[in-house]
Symmetry: C2
Subunit: 408 residues, 2 copies
């Protein structure tokens, strides 16, 4: 309650006010949080101590001694990591370090998008990407996915239809490798077709590879940026999923014509130096071994979640076994409205992501939910899914019988 | 040179592309860089090691265990620091941690400003604040300063004039304590008058206190936020000047009605955790003693710069002895165009800030320059100012005689 009239001075069209933060749910299956026990704390402390002992005085200078594109040693690590893991041929000059991949989204959107523009995205898509486009007043065209990722037949007809209407989309946004929320990986054949269609219609590809490090068999496909030799593709990534989300370090790989435009609107005097320094010091020696250990642990948690869903939901919960990532995209019976389920589940201490928030097709996603398994313990996953099943049974009559009741 | 036509897809009205970074000038008197020898490297390493050993696992969670307003221990330190040093009565719930005070500027602008709005600022003002308002399409009214800071007579007539024209400004932006670039400190009497005028016209005050820790005699005046009990005032600050600019940690103090709006547009999933954790651990024990040592060193560098200016420019360089900060606002003879001087000086290895970039009155500021003394060594300050004097003499005939020539 203000004793000054601020309300009449607020800009028009602001999003609703944020609610006060009330902590995490007892069983939290939301957000991109990761496994606390997998944060390489000791090695990060060692790396931080080494790099600060050697270069700590550089903190007195904006951008350290590396300029506005970000800490040079980190960009050099990324250049060879992306070459080794994703086939991308680039050097430190082609990389811009950002404050998480969310700032990367803002910078790419910032140089391309104006109100009334059109962007093509995957029909099921990261909530933050959908929300950004909505706030920017951009017309979104969603392309359905199947188990092979974005459907190229649908993309081809969408591009043809837009061309008929005289609309040139600003980009095709895709999360090709461990897609969010479906967990699919776009096949190599579809990647070639996607690049061909993008070239044919003169539309750039915006490739978001923020989950691409987390693949069970470690076989990350060639990035679209690699297959196109960088022509007509902007590539972004993040350390949030591979090291720790709270670090807020992401990156953009693009040609200088675009990076120079993004730098001009990146008016933050550089992203956080400590995060960049510690990753630049830690990653060259530890990144690959850490990620393979992390993914083993994530795979085990995924199996616990799939087992719990099978035990407590039976056939009422449909899902595919994803090839990587930190979440499961689950289809519940049609009578389940996940918005209603969300509220009752939260009251029971279980937080889930609503399907409609991860899709531009609200009816298709109405009975779907995204369940993240990285952050809770195995026990919390089992208890949380059991609780969710009880709430779902109580509210919607599905699953028909509750396993742990049946056991009683 | 792109083999894809991106140019036709770029959004309209983008700022010019950034130039490739070429490193710092040999004698750099620009930007907010600080003294490398004053970065408390050892203590920061100790703090980082302690906090990560205790709480490192929290890096797996966005916002740590503290939620979107930022690391709780840092907000708690800020609450008692602001109480002790600036008289501000607030608690952790009234504080939002930001990625430097630049994000604080963006969030405050984001909730108040729309194209065509009017904002009142100090005629000489931080370049980044002026540029933001220009990009947002906001009409800027500049209020002249004198040695006492913003002139209240000019503010009163500006507010009256705007009211006559039916314009209610969105805010009055001020850097009251160690103003950038003039280095002035707004007197207590003027602070009372500023608050009275703001109340009378129903205009909020946007108080930017990012330099307020760096005062030679340590006597920081009461913040406007403190004098108004927070009513009608938004307060922002930063650790860039007091600890290290590369850390990128700033903060906003405001009532929840405003913070809840800012949180809704702060879509970065939190600011960098390591910076917040290390400051939350380091500051409670070390902040005050570090800052008093830092300011002693800055004062010594200021004296070296003033001596060098007197020696090499004589009466051709006019300036007041500022009560704190990291820069000197210098008036050169009217025939000196600092834009021309900037280019010749840079060619000679000396970087200076252009008066016109720190002012909304281009003719008033045409012969003025902002010289930062924090980052160069005492020797670099002496050599850089001598070189600047030679360039200025060569280009504009002032100073009439060059001291080191006269000595020859």
């Amino acid at each position: 309650m203000s004793s000054f009239d601020f309300a009449s001075l607020l800009a028009p069209g602001l999003p609703p006010a944020a609610a006060k933060w009330n902590g995490l749910a007892k069983y939290s299956f939301v957000g991109g949080n990761n496994d606390p026990d997998q944060v390489p704390v000791e090695a990060l402390i060692k790396a931080m101590s080494d790099v600060l002992t050697r270069e700590g005085k550089d903190l007195a200078t904006y951008g350290l001694a590396s300029g506005p594109q970000g800490y040079l040693r980190l960009r050099e690590f990324l250049a060879q990591k992306l070459k080794r893991n994703a086939g991308i041929a680039c050097d430190a000059g082609d990389i811009l370090i950002t404050s998480g991949s969310l700032q990367a989204l803002d910078l790419v959107n910032g140089i391309f998008l104006a109100r009334g523009d059109t962007a093509i995205i995957e029909q099921e898509c990261y909530q933050g990407s959908i929300n950004r486009l909505t706030r920017l007043g951009v017309n979104v065209v969603g392309i359905p996915l199947d188990r092979g990722g974005m459907r190229m037949d649908s993309l081809a007809s969408a591009l043809a239809d837009l061309k008929r209407r005289g609309v040139r989309p600003k980009y095709i946004y895709t999360i090709p490798t461990v897609q969010n929320p479906t967990g699919t990986i776009l096949s190599e054949a579809r990647r070639h077709e996607l690049l061909r269609l993008a070239r044919e219609y003169g539309v750039p590809i915006f490739e978001d590879d923020c989950y691409a490090d987390l693949i069970w068999d470690g076989k990350r496909p060639l990035a679209l940026y690699a297959m196109s030799k960088g022509v007509g593709v902007v590539h972004i990534g993040s350390f949030s999923k591979s090291i720790a989300p709270a670090l807020r370090v992401g990156y953009i790989v693009a040609e200088w014509e675009l990076l120079s435009r993004m730098l001009a609107i990146k008016t933050d005097a550089g992203s956080g130096a400590l995060e960049q320094m510690v990753l630049g010091e830690y990653c060259p020696a530890h990144f690959d071994s850490h990620v393979s250990e992390l993914t083993r642990g994530l795979r085990a948690k995924l199996e616990t979640m799939m087992d719990a869903l099978n035990e407590h939901f039976g056939t009422a919960a449909e899902f595919d076994d994803p090839k990587g990532g930190i979440f499961l995209w689950v289809k519940l019976p049609d009578q389940v409205d996940t918005l209603k389920l969300y509220q009752s589940a939260l009251a029971a201490g279980v937080a889930i992501n609503l399907g409609p928030e991860w899709s531009v097709d609200k009816s298709y996603s109405r009975s779907r939910t995204r369940l993240c398994f990285a952050s809770p313990t195995h026990a919390e996953i089992r208890e949380g899914i059991a609780t969710l099943a009880e709430v779902c049974h109580r509210e919607f009559g599905v699953p028909a019988r509750i396993a742990n009741v049946a056991r009683g």
